[in-house]
Subunit: 435 residues, 2 copies
């Protein structure tokens, strides 16, 4: 059998320890599939004394993470520390600079520095791989980069954050409000102590920007993602959605449209959406992830599975290692970085869609007329309207669904209502997923 592929592992937390456990459990199978053994030779983390549930005495321990990239006995460096900058980025540069292949699960770093790192890997003819960075165990990077490679993809979207999906599914099944479910999720370990990256949509946006670049051959542009999280969703939103035949999901969606069309450019958004029950994303429950890609020949492809956790994420990291062991090193974003096209962000305003709007209103005559007038003046046509129950602000709840129309009209209507003394708190706007 050929020489083993020698791996250095930086970061021994949830994913790092999972990678060691996986390679231990599936060692022989991996060697048969990869054509050679995959062996960890050196590891690094902050705290040498910490018990990680796996035997580390077999590996060289380095206090200086960066030094992993400098070892002669290492072919691939795997970065599982996290963080857009700092030690992860330092290690990535060091490892590639020293001629190592580089594997990471770090979507924050890729969203911010992915193109530069990919260009460096290309120049040095080394692999830069990150299957675990998007949708955990689901091989969606490979699915877009290779499986759907023959297609012009026009849309990619999905449920990219398991924490948010868990919270929304639980709000739905238990009729509970956001804060209560978040607290419970934190207690159970499904949400971080500092949940901002997840529930504010930033993590999903990191992943979406990566998918968009891969799918469309466009330069990764994280800054252009419009992001709204799930903090403002109340139990009544979910109940209204249910009554109308929808489920609420945090959806990341990216579309590209040809120059000359009214929405030319790259559209990227993470936003809570109403997903109709007949759509497969409506059935993605709990902490699962799912990604849909639409190609001009293949039609709609769906990939679903576990988007996080030690086992699924390690599965994706080791899939990258097997690719490298097999000599499959190709460009990180499916084509050379120089071949990626810079696409201007597409404005949302001309997109035509139906909207869900929810207001918390003072309980007095004339409020509904005021809302209806603002809609009329902004050219928004109302499909259905319901006034039922109380909001957390102590107001009456008004929820409506619009007919299809340009989003800028909805924005205009909300601007007209901005500051109205009839409204308590901010209105909630969710898009209806009609694709």
């Amino acid at each position: 059998m050929a020489q083993p592929l020698r791996v250095a592992l930086a970061g021994l937390g949830t994913v790092g320890a999972g990678v060691i456990a996986l390679i231990d459990a599936n060692r022989d199978l991996i060697a048969r599939r990869a054509g050679r053994p995959i062996e960890i030779v050196a590891v690094s983390a902050r705290d040498r004394a910490r018990d990680r549930g796996v035997d580390l005495t077999r590996f060289a321990w380095l206090d200086d993470t960066r030094a992993l990239g400098q070892r002669d006995d290492v072919d691939v460096v795997v970065e599982l520390i996290g963080g857009a900058d700092g030690p992860a980025l330092t290690l990535a540069r060091e490892a590639l600079g020293q001629g190592k292949h580089f594997v990471t699960a770090n979507k924050a770093m890729i969203a911010h520095h992915g193109l530069a790192l990919a260009a460096e890997a290309e120049r040095l003819q080394r692999a830069f791989k990150y299957e675990a960075a998007v949708a955990g165990g689901i091989p969606v990077i490979k699915g877009l980069r290779e499986g759907a490679a023959a297609n012009a993809l026009t849309r990619v979207y999905g449920i990219l954050n398991g924490t948010c999906n868990y919270i929304l599914s639980t709000m739905e099944s238990e009729g509970a409000d956001f804060a209560a479910v978040l607290a419970e999720a934190q207690r159970l370990g499904y949400a971080e102590a500092d949940p901002g990256f997840d529930i504010d949509g930033v993590d999903a946006a990191h992943k979406l920007s990566i998918l968009a670049s891969l799918a469309f051959g466009s330069r990764l542009d994280f800054e252009a993602v419009a992001i709204t999280g799930i903090r403002q969703i109340i139990a009544a939103d979910i109940a209204q959605a249910q009554a109308l035949g929808y489920r609420v999901r945090l959806v990341g969606i990216a579309e590209t449209s040809p120059e000359g069309s009214s929405t030319a450019g790259l559209f990227q958004r993470v936003h809570p959406c109403l997903v109709p029950l007949h759509h497969p994303l409506a059935h993605v429950a709990g902490s699962l992830n799912a990604v849909v890609a639409e190609g001009n020949f293949v039609g709609r492809l769906l990939f679903e599975g576990r988007g996080a956790g030690a086992g699924p994420t390690a599965s994706a990291v080791v899939a990258d290692l097997i690719d490298i062991a097999r000599g499959e090193l190709g460009p990180a974003f499916a084509m050379p970085v120089a071949a990626l096209e810079a696409q201007p962000p597409a404005p949302a305003g001309e997109r035509r869609a139906r909207a869900y709007l929810r207001f918390s209103v003072a309980d007095r005559p004339g409020v509904l007329a005021e809302i209806a007038a603002a809609m009329r003046d902004a050219n928004v046509s109302i499909e259905s309207l319901i006034q039922r129950g109380q909001t957390p602000e102590g107001g009456a709840l008004v929820a409506l669904v619009t007919h299809e129309g340009p989003e800028r009209c909805v924005a205009d209507a909300l601007a007209r209502l901005d500051g109205s003394p009839s409204l308590l708190g901010q209105p909630m706007w969710m898009h209806i997923l009609d694709v």
Copy 2:
């Protein structure tokens, strides 16, 4: 830019013409992704005069398909003729023998000759690829071979035949009987004039045997697949299933279990199943396909999309060509043929499951008691039983669901009832998918 990858195309039917159309439409994108252009240089089919909706004058035409494999200006031969033997197999051997890479969508040929062809490709260090052979446009071969490669997979199953799924979905939505829906499907072109391979489950079995080999690292063993098609399903079966909270799907399922377990070996079966509504396969409608794989670290992965048709199938064929253009040639069944393990077929009898049984019975007293006695004597415990409506044979319909138990007991019960004058026609046995 590097030299083009030069392709010869054998077979210019649905898929062959689709490949030409795809390469024409997405030429530039493919070159960017593949790192080099992909160019068809020569084609062959039976009838040179036939209009195929694409311009063939650009390509060399060969009347002798086999001669495609002998041309010096060809790097890859793509076989889209079909048939387990005959010209497809002759061409495969010729092409590999002449040092060409080989791509096919031909699941029948792979099910019967895949291991021999893969071994030959390996010996000659050429690619043997077949993404289009299973589940059309869904990149499930790549998903198992690469995406899930770090896992010990224990089960792979799915909806592998779009014709059957279309018929079953339509029976469900229209309450119609099998024969009427099949006739309509044939009129609409969703089913072949000779539909046997599809509706008798053989096509699904071809695909299942390929998936099983890839997933488990076992030698492909098509002969060991137990096959039942959908001809015997009547409208009342679907209605009963619905009333019980299930949908009827033709499911191909393969499992491997370790030596020493009571069901050791490789279990492979294509059979109509009752799929509970909470399972994602219940929501795979119309002509879609879906595949589920369960790994020891990744958990459950689901791939869904179009399993047939010119566009989706061409998408998969060209994905293989892009892999080859990128130099990604690895072993066809994820590991060298010599590393695949021969696994004995696992007996179905010890499998524990719930069963749906439907009888058409003579309308006279004592029949129910006779069925119940047979169940009792065979140690089958009945969970629910319903006697309602008429069967096409003019009998009364009795449908029951058993508690979980070994399948051999159900087989025993049916054997006890075999030949009973109380029964009109064969009983129908469907398995309940409880995974």
